[in-house]
Amino acid sequence: MVLGVNHRDVIEACQRGDDEAFRVLFETHKDRVYSIALRYSGNSTAAMDIAQDTFVKLLSNIGQFRGDSSFESWLYRLVVNTCLDYHRKRRRFLPLLEDGLEEALDVFRAPSESALHDLLREEQEERVQQVVAQLPEEQRIVVVLRYTDGLSYEEIADLLGCRRGTVASRLNRAHKALERRLSHLRPRKVRQ
């Protein structure tokens, strides 16, 4: 990551069409953009598509960035909108994964005190991601921004253009849904 470079200068260079500056912006923000895309979509193929679209849009629209808000906020809006667009485009074609979900949760019913512990942890992460990916769109994006990037309620509200109370309400509903669906996440203790 190129942290020593003045961000403002890099953005201005990118606005002038400097390919090297774009590469710097890409390297600086790629992990964050990809993480949000991955946690939102629940699969790496979709995440690559979303991340690619986000950076292509960034390049096309960077001339419109005036610095009224931070570049990070502007980029967040870009990636969030790309996630939502992607979801809308794909909604008709995505199969419901309810059966797969139940099957996935069975994994957590196995005892963790075994040689497969690490493997199970990886699987848990994947399953949590799957469950998150099945949340309603408005709850999912809030969960991703909160837990993938650690944004505050205010920051999320600002990004999504809604009130803090709306964010809290969506998160609350998401928590309940996740709690219900991941109730088997904690491995049971095995009686010796």
């Binding site: 890409f26 790629k30 990809y34 993480s35 991340a51 949590v128 998150v132 837990y147």
Partner: protein, 205 residues
Amino acid sequence: MKKQDYESELSRHLGPVTAPDELWDRVHGAHVVKSRPSRGMTWQWAAAALATVALVAGVTVWQNREMNGEERAVRALSRTPEQLQFHSADLAELRTWVKSDTGMDLPLPVRTSSSVQLIGAYVNRKGTPTAEISYRVGGVDATLVVSKIPMEGDGRHAFIKSGSYHGSSFQSWTMRGQMYTIASADAKVGCLLCHSTGAPRMRVN
């Protein structure tokens, strides 16, 4: 599970990850294609569009083309009795129905061998009128397809071709301004419709 517990679980499981290295290649590739549409690309799109139009036109022509005798006969073999337009086990009835519907006279014998079981007929009035007679010989399905053609020669029996088409045997010949094709799974049984009794041909009016 307490709220703090699953919030920390979520943070742990949904934490940031490292983007794959190939992301740059994809972004860079998409950017290059988007920002610099070359003349070559334009031509490629035009060629692809032309190819698509040609393909659609070809399929349309293919679907609407006049099928040849063996195609019609083999396709008619797959017709179920319910799909036939006229059902009769009587040759004279079939012949009269075809004559009234298409104007074609089928020079069929007055009666057939007991091994021949007539099922029915189907006519196609689009383009060149065509009649299909479905029958069974000893449990083997067979079809006789007759269509009008320009009158040539003295009208006598003239062999055209025989062979196999999509796994069924066929024989085609012309006679009195009509083309005939017989198709069946067994090359020998199709001919028994007319050639099992040696009975005289009948004529409709």
